[in-house]
Assembly symmetry: C2
Homo-oligomer: 227 residues x 2
């Protein structure tokens, strides 16, 4: 049962939250100067990672080097509907530029046909291209039925990804406690679950963590931590 | 001056409109069967092109082969914030799969810094990778000032692209008469201007064409033509 005063520990509690957070800046109009500020925030707050578009990855990797913050990026983002060869190439380029984790988008349209092999191969190609860098598989849960979410989880595990992740934040849908519970149940205790999309308060972040998420993706990280 | 009855010519008028239209299906959850239906519609209505995500391009190219409809796709879509190397690779892969035109997204964040050379090189790399296939440069006008739109137009011309294009349809903003006039003025009479984003009626399509667009991108093409 949850404490009635989950935030009573103040700074310590907030600091604990920071280590769950991928501090995210994926706006297409973000300028390098904003990316640099974003990285400074990540270092100051002790966030787990800074997540930026591939174009900004080199800059971000330089900024957070040796600061205990992982530079991470996205692949096939946010539609997931490009070619597997392109996703794999993008992942490899990102790793060469210093990416320490890759958040790829699953092929949603293909998943919906029920033919799982091309979806599996798409994920596996990115996992292989990114190796040994861990890969998160964004399911875009807002577009999926519960059955499709379950199948996607099993494909991510089978393809040797490291995480399943709820949403891109650019489509419909947001991270929900129900979806995180479903994802955690399907992938088991030793796989990653990242909750992202619409996470705009510490309360929501902790609720998602309590539901089974071990990572939170949000662009509102500093607001969540109170400055 | 425009006629007071611009649609009096009925079917003929609508048929004229079809040849301006890139019939577009870029939803991430579109299944191959929907893409096939989309291609059938394009052939039936005599649309200029069918625009689909890279994953569906091979299917679309097969469907419209020999039918007078161009199979086209998108690159760096819709954020435009991936690496130049990835955009060029994606363009080359698409051309190899049968793409007859490439709609790429400009690097908006870089454009906003005022440093134009990386933006120019980004476009030029895609133009070169796609050659001789024409390249359209999506400016995402909803994110730009008028000055930035003007600069982007000049960069697209200098990089030897074939078109400038207003919007992805996935971001803020939509095709406006004012923006099309601005784009046409900047690129001159011999360059392409594609109006896309929020084009949902024949009236709007013709207004954009009258303002200087020689191509319209829309997912609501069959509705616009009345079925």
């Amino acid at each position: 049962m949850q404490s009635k005063k989950p935030f009573a520990q103040g700074v310590l509690r907030r600091s604990g939250l920071a280590q769950f957070i991928d501090h995210t800046l994926l706006r297409p109009d973000a300028r390098p100067m904003e990316v640099a500020n974003h990285c400074r925030e990540a270092v100051r707050h002790g966030f787990k990672a800074v997540c930026v578009n591939p174009f900004h990855l080199g800059l971000a990797a330089g900024f957070v080097a040796g600061q205990g913050v992982l530079p991470i990026t996205v692949v096939g983002f946010p539609l997931g509907a490009t070619l597997t060869s392109v996703k794999a190439f993008e992942a490899r380029e990102a790793v060469n530029l210093g990416a320490r984790e890759i958040d790829m988008v699953i092929n949603v349209g293909q998943l919906k046909t029920g033919k799982t092999r091309p979806v599996l191969e798409d994920i596996a190609a990115v996992v292989q291209a990114a190796a040994p860098c861990p890969v998160k598989v964004i399911l875009e849960t807002g577009l999926l039925t519960d059955d499709e979410k379950r199948i996607a989880c099993h494909l991510a595990v089978e393809a040797k990804a490291a995480f399943v992740k709820t949403c891109t934040g650019f489509g419909t849908g947001s991270a929900t406690v129900e979806d995180v519970k479903l994802l955690r149940r399907e992938v088991g205790p030793d796989f990653g679950v990242k909750a992202s999309g619409g996470v705009d308060s510490a309360e929501k972040a902790w609720a998602l963590i309590n539901a089974g998420a071990n990572r939170i993706g949000t662009s509102r990280s500093t607001m969540i931590l109170g400055g």
